[in-house]
Symmetry: C2
């Protein structure tokens, strides 16, 4: 069968780690999972309860932009979290933030356009852009800029700039001033700014700033996946400028018909105070995990780490230890029984010298993982 | 905000009908819905029960290709329905068949490629192709060919051909011979054949033939939406040639991460004999509805209809009555209280002279709708 050029996107190197971890577990070994990018906690109880009640009704297609009550609920979240008064008409519910990228890239960019993406960064930005015939242009961000782009990093002549704060894998944030500088610069050059805010709510000191606090001329993307522990449910959203709603409605109706109905019902109930209390309890676990990570990783030799402002990742520069992070990750799995992610998926240039440690699991798991890593590093 | 050219896809004209119907209902009128493209029945009881049991576990991301048991279950369906022995490795679970189109078009076609689509046909083929910078090329099919393309309709130099049997809006099928002729011709010209089989299971005499019965060199698309009454759940699938699985895996991981987990659990339980019995009971209702439609529509003046082999639609040529099917549909809604779909969304050339009647609702609704239509036609 014929295949397209654009369909030939890069493999995920982390899949090799996951497959090796699976094999190790199948052979009876106990593995600590620091490679995962998702909570191990279930969706909020209220979300599951609401869904259970709704199951009596046929769950047909919803309208393309999402259940009106959910769009209102999401607008309410902007009021509570950021003090931003948002018209629910500007909220577009999508099948995960992944679906939001597909929609945003189709609505904003034509084939051959160029979009700047930060390196290190979430690999799917690049791959989805390629699959849609848009050219990703890597911005090699610098440690002294918290691995976040600054205006000078934005290449000439791009049609779009993709940012993420807190970022994956870095966990670093753009503060209000850094974000404002990027807003200003993208407006100056007429590039669309897309702000991935999927790790909002998961911060440990400074509150993450939404691009919507600074401008309406931005596409903001978020999701129920991380803060609300709802990865498998596939509900995300976009906030778009008023003049893009009609385009989004038509595109979403054709590309997705709608986000999963049952999941939308669950997501709506995730916006209640009791659900948010549950999410905050998960956050307290991450905070304790993060405290342990920051206390112990540097002491055992992982001392060049990005400022871990948010999300549930620590990104470490291990270029003093290896120039083959995939081999190092394989060795750590093999000898320490800890699965970690080599940086190659996130940064095609420097990723062979970096590792990402996730601390999304229980504190018991994280403590055990750190013990194993410490023994491994001591034995090197 | 900047917007792309490709994002400017056509509006759905049926939305105007639906909005008018909603307003009429809000003002207290009773409307019979013959415009809908989905069952009004719930997902099979076993599917809901299975989901209820699974809710105790966190539903994280599944692997990108879908739950292995679900892929096996789908392969089993090919054995039961078609006697085809299918390797489950070739099954890719997607967020609805809508997600399957996105994946197939990304994997098969580059920007600027041309893909033939039948007219009349499901409008989203065209719009998704456009949103991905692929050019849809309409094939005006003929009544004497059951509104299905024949090899001579396939334009020169296309990279792909999209077929659907039973089709939407026509409800007509390609028999084995007609399908074989299209398989042969597309192979001759090196075009990818994509077969949308979403209405399989919903047939009323001849059994729908799967392209997989004839060749492995095809991309087959299907879904739990229609036969299994699971539209809002957003689970569909692709069957691809063995050498495309790796590409699909990578694309799906980046574009969707996975299909909704809860919905995959429900879909797996929809493949049990008890669920299929429920689906067959729904089919019996459609069969009775179809019988009423075929008895009464021609008698009241809708006598130029496509052979309604499957799905739950009757497609009528009303060009003797009007050259503005949208206005006719509005008038039928206004004066008869029946919502029907004007053909313009399905056929940009001839759709102003056609209507689609859906009979997916209860037999009581359909009988009442037919009474109203008969009075309307008598009073014209
Ligand atoms: C930065 C970032 N954005 C987006 C996503 C996609 O998440 P989802 O599609 O579940 O909303 C992820 C998932 O790991 C991520 O890390
Ligand atoms: C012919 C055809 N294909 C595909 C679809 C999309 O269905 P889904 O995405 O729910 O699987 C529809 C929906 O009406 C359809 O009529």
């Amino acid at each position: 069968m014929r295949q397209s050029r654009r369909g030939q996107v890069d493999p995920f190197i982390v899949m090799d780690v996951m497959e090796a971890a699976r094999r190790a577990e199948a052979s009876g070994r106990h593995i600590i999972h620091m490679e995962v990018g998702q909570p191990s906690t279930p969706a909020p109880a209220a979300a599951l309860k609401a869904l259970g009640q709704e199951l009596a009704e046929p769950l047909g297609y919803t309208v393309a932009l999402g259940l009106p009550a959910l769009r209102e609920g999401i607008a309410g979240l902007y009021r509570r979290w950021y003090g931003v008064d948002l018209d629910p008409a500007r909220v577009v519910v999508t099948p995960g933030s992944s679906g939001a990228f597909l929609l945003a890239f189709a609505a904003l960019f034509d084939a051959g356009d160029r979009v700047a993406v930060g390196e290190p960064g979430y690999p799917s930005y690049r791959q989805i852009l390629r699959a849609m015939s848009v050219e990703p242009v890597g911005m090699q961000t610098r440690a002294e800029n918290r691995y976040q782009p600054v205006p000078a990093d934005i290449p000439e002549g791009v049609q779009g700039v993709m940012i993420a704060s807190p970022g994956n894998p870095s966990g670093t944030m753009l503060d209000r001033q850094a974000l404002a500088a990027l807003v200003e610069r993208t407006q100056e050059i007429g590039a669309a700014l897309i702000s991935d805010e999927i790790y909002h709510g998961l911060d440990y000191g400074q509150r993450a700033v939404s691009a919507l606090e600074l401008t309406d001329d931005v596409v903001v993307i978020n999701s129920f996946s991380k803060y609300f522990s709802m990865t498998g449910w596939r509900v995300g959203w976009l906030v778009v400028p008023p003049d893009m709603v009609r385009t989004m409605d038509r595109l979403a109706a054709n590309m997705f018909i709608c986000a999963p109905h049952a999941s939308q019902v669950a997501a709506l109930a995730a916006l209640t105070p009791e659900s948010e209390a549950e999410a905050q309890a998960n956050l307290a676990v991450y905070a304790e995990n993060r405290r342990m990570m920051l206390e112990r990783l540097p002491a055992m030799g992982f001392d060049r780490i990005a400022p871990p402002d948010g999300a549930f990742y620590v990104y470490a520069d291990v270029s003093a230890l290896t120039h083959d992070s995939a081999a190092l990750a394989a060795d750590i799995l093999d000898r320490a029984g800890v699965a970690v992610t080599p940086g190659v998926d996130f940064d095609p240039v420097r990723g062979a010298g970096t590792l990402r440690f996730s601390y999304a699991r229980s504190s018991g798991d994280i403590a055990e993982g750190l013990d194993r890593l410490a023994r491994y590093m001591a034995g090197r």
